[in-house]
Amino acid sequence: MVEPNQLTQHLETFVDITRSPTQQDDSLRRIASSLENDTLSINQLVREMEMYLTTTDDVVRARGILLLAEILNSLKQKPLDNAIVHSLIGFFTEKLADWRAVRGALVGCLALLKRKNVAGVDVLAIAKAMIQNVQVQSFALLERKLCFELLECLLQHHSEAIITMGNLLVYATCEAIDGEKDPQCLMVVFHLIELLAQLFPSPSGPVASDASDIFDSIACYFPLHFTHTKGDEASITREDLSRGLLRAFSSTPFFEPYAIPLLLEKLSSSLTVAKVDSLKCLKDCAMKYGVYRMKKHYGVLWSALKDEFYSSTGTQLSFALESLTSPGFEMNEIHREAVNLLQTLVNQDISFLGFVVDDIHINTVFDTISRHSQYKEMPDTSKLDVLVISQILSVSAKASVKSCNIIFQTVFFRLMNILGIVEIVSTGDVFPKGNSTVSTRLYHGGLHLCIELLRASKDLILDFEEYSPTPGCAQESWCSIVKSFSFPLIQVFTSAVRCSNNDCAEDVYFGVKGLLAMGMFWGGSSPLSRSEFEKILMTLTSIITAKSAKTVVWELALRALVCIGSFIDRYHDSDKVMSYMSIVVENLVSLASSSQCGLPYAMLLEATSEVCSTGPEHVEKMVQGFEEAFCSSLSDFYVTGNFKSIDNCSQLLKCLTNKLLPRVAEIDGLEKLLVHFAISMWNQIESCGVFSCDFNCREFVEAAMTSMGQVVGIALVESQNSIFQKAYSVISSSILPAMESIPLTFAALEGLQRDLSKRDELILSLFASVMIAASPAASIPDAKSLIHLFLVSLLKGYIPAAQALGSMVNKLSSGSGGTNISSDCSLEEACDIIFHADFALEKKISSNGSGPSGKIICASETTLSKICLGLCGSVDLQTRAITGLAWIGKGLLMRGDKRVNEIAQVLVECLKSSNRSGHALHPSAMKHSADAFFILMSDSEVCLNRKFHAVIRPLYKQWFFSSTVPILESLIMNSETPLSRTMLHVALAHVISNVPLTVILDNTKKLHPLILEGLSVLSVDSSEKETLFSLLLVLSGTLTDTKGQQSASDNAHIIIECLVKLTSYPYLMVVRETAIQCLVALLELPHRRIYPFRRKVLQAIVKALDDRKQRVRKEAIRCRQAWVSITT
């Protein structure tokens, strides 16, 4: 497609260095694309470019060659004729000598070398030209990188061709990389070394003979020091570089005579990075260099390694719960790497273990152990000895089966002797002592070492089983050693656990840890018999059931059981599953359901839930047990009126809610079990008659509501439906008929009182919580009567009923007749019932209430709103109606329904000192309607949230904010009485503090005066302290954001005045603290705006320095320092 003159134009554009890079790229792309679709051939192009490629103008020639090279680079996919490739290579090779055009030549060579059809001769030609003519280190960064990539490409893809160059190649590479400093280039350089080593593996090859030189050129980078965190787009990290260097170091065994001494030397440095890198590198090298070469370094290596263990281990042995499954001391990176290295060395060559076992320290550690019984009594050096040696021995034992055998053979008998488990008879034979004679010599050091060894062998079995399916450990000698001592060992640990002295917390800890270690041997190759395993479980379980207070040993034992349980579950050990089930799980569950146990019920539940959460079968058992326990306790309460039973019920439900429900996603089938539980709750309540005594069971009702709601929340729609059915049958046989019989007339409503029986209240609350948590897809039976029920109960003052009604209007599908078949009631119908209903309007009220806007029937015309406005009924009824209306409004608001505006109107009307009918409002009603705005705007934990499947329209808060704030603002301007003004401000504060801060930041100019006025109005007394605090937080948000600062600067004087007043607000400490923080934030404003207030602020702060709360004083000091320093 490209005409010759167009081609010339593109060429000119690229060559002309005054053009912009984008133009040059564009012309390059055009030429390349015309080559790609064959409208232009390479030959034509080269002929056309001849002048540019050969001219004596250096700049033009360099650009020309670069253009040709870049074109080739972008044509990687297009096959080219062999002859063309050959002649192009010839051209570029020649140009490698032309240092002014070297970049183009390098790009060209690289592009061509990446092709498949490059002849060996050509490769050799490039390599030779490269070696002869290119002085890599004299180039700039980009060219250097290209050179290295070219070398990399030669070594990686054309190794057969260049292998003949031998020494020359190695020598040239060394020269090229000598002194390189750029991280990107270094990444390539390290790879080059690796490639060279792969290319010449022979001991008589060039790498072997030049190993010293090659190693010298990279040794200078070790240990790698690189602090740039980010910058260039390649973003190479220290880890990348260090890994590259390590790979280069370990690339060939020929580096061994140079690398190992260097690494050992760097290991003795005091720099952490150097130590870590050296250890890592030694590990890699040991694997790569092979046993034969490493053998001569063993002596030095061992002593260096031992030093590292000593220096990286602290003397603090933790006796905390968390360290039951770890060695019990803090491990830093050096320690971890040292562990890896030791394990690698032992694993690779068992003879290394000789150095370990013969070490003098290891032989003296037994004396140390037997000198001190208590760990805390040991001097620090002995502690260190014990910890380090235990760690070294257990790490070595973990390395391989062979090493494990050796370690157990050399160490274990002596250890058992110290612990008093065996006697060494003079003939040299050893045998375990009889059962009765186990002495109580509990040497902590010995126990620690013993536990570490047992844990190491346990890990070894696991590794072993993962690789080979046949259980083969049983024949190993370490296994038989453990087997022969298992009985006395368990006895020793048990006696340690049973220790009842006060100062033997450590004995107990070691005992539990030991039992845990013994209990975690895996499956068929376990050295423990089944009865021994069961004995361990029984010991631990008996501790849990015996202790009547939460002691350390109780928690340790529980933790150990949980560990064993999850271990069994993870490795599917069928024998042990059965033992665990019968000894631990069933035991605890049966105790929980019989509640005949010395243990406090809460602790029993905690233990049961912890233990049972280890596996799905256990969970099933537990939920069933809990179900039984719940039913029996509840019926016991009904029959005998035993308060303890109902208390147990609440605790049970709380345990269910807190421990099990959060794990529903992890445990298969839990949902079904819980739904079953919920249905049996309903069954039980149905079958129980009236409470035999009047007992305020608030706690129980709340616990039951939470559990019921949460269960329904997580249940599938079908399960929700079945719960609904059950619940509806219960409610329709008890309170529903009675409530439905109450007509919605003023006369009837006025007489309403909280008059439900405890049982009815429980049923109502539970049903409400089912309704709150149900998903919109669930089908609600007989929705219309239920709305009636909830409406009456909310007017009776049951808040859950109001919340349930809010959830209903939030979730019911709109559209007449119900497009959703699952419900017999649509949103419109529901609203009709709620707002208009068949309230029998009394004449005088309707004549009074017809306001100026009588054209449409809006919510403010309805009976419910008339009650809210206090036109009829008592104050109590009025406040209940207002709160109920708020919840209904919340449901509508969240789904974005316009009807909420009418509700807002009613609420606003209630805030006026006298509404349009001239009727004065009761202060308590005003307070309730102000707080209704909090209900509308805040996120609720108990209903209408995501967990309970609420329909939430995006940005609904913003929408309400923008429609409400102007109304409230104008009312505040015109408010007549102080009370009304305060209440309007409370409402406004609720709206402002619950909307996302970004909305506020967009309107700071308008809102700042309002917020400040609100703060001063609310700070008058203590009744609105929480609202005041949330409003203050909004203010502080605007002060710290740049968007709000302009307006803050304009209003600086009133802001400071207000904050200064709040620094002495007596009712809430956080208000004072935040006010002072805001004052500090104000210092971001322009100096001229704030300087005039310095005196005033400092005076206030000096008072705050004497505040009665420490946190306020601390902020005051900071604030004072900041304000003092703006003097100049």
């Binding site: 809430l1068 400490m1069 320095l1105 004497d1106 009665r1108 709360k1109 420490q1110 601390k1114 000091i1117 003092v1124």
Partner: protein, 159 residues
């Protein structure tokens, strides 16, 4: 002017772990929390740096928690500090820093008493007199060089 540092290589001590306040702050809104030893020690140890080195006075063990005595009822506080060297001419500056810091941080009702630990400094008596003489302290704080030095030491640290 003295050239070079007075104490070129001071011993650095590891920071002691903070005593955790056991009385939770939120239980009673109106309960008073009197100013105590730890609070004053926090004020002094966090923000005052040694005039010569970038270490806090805590790290150099110039001030320890036990060296602070405080009585909130009588509004009296006494700080006893230990200069790193017996002839340390920086002791005056350190003392002045401590005084200025406390003046800025404590309510005005407090009487502040600064002392050098007995036997830790060559001119102990003179120093004690100098640091507790109102007039001399006021005069010192009118000397711009001294104020600059003090402010330098009191720059808030990043912690």
């Amino acid at each position: 002017m003295v050239t070079g540092l007075i104490n070129e290589n001071p011993i650095i001590y590891p920071k002691k772990e903070r005593r955790v306040r056991t009385d939770s702050n939120n239980t009673d809104e109106f309960a008073a929390e009197p100013i105590d030893q730890l609070e004053i020690f926090d004020i002094l140890s966090l923000d005052i740096k040694d005039p010569e080195h970038p270490y806090s006075l805590e790290e150099l063990k110039v001030i320890t928690e036990d060296s602070v005595e405080v009585d909130d009822e009588t509004s009296h506080v006494r700080v006893t500090f230990t200069p790193t060297m017996e002839h340390c001419s920086m002791a005056t500056i350190i003392g002045l820093c401590v005084r200025v810091k406390l003046m800025r941080s404590l309510p005005p009702r407090y009487k502040i008493d600064i002392r050098v630990a007995p036997g830790s400094h060559a001119t102990e008596d003179a120093l004690n007199k100098q640091l507790n003489d109102k007039e001399r302290v006021a005069a010192a704080l009118e000397n711009p060089n001294l104020v600059e030095m003090v402010d330098e030491c009191l720059l808030p640290s990043d912690e």
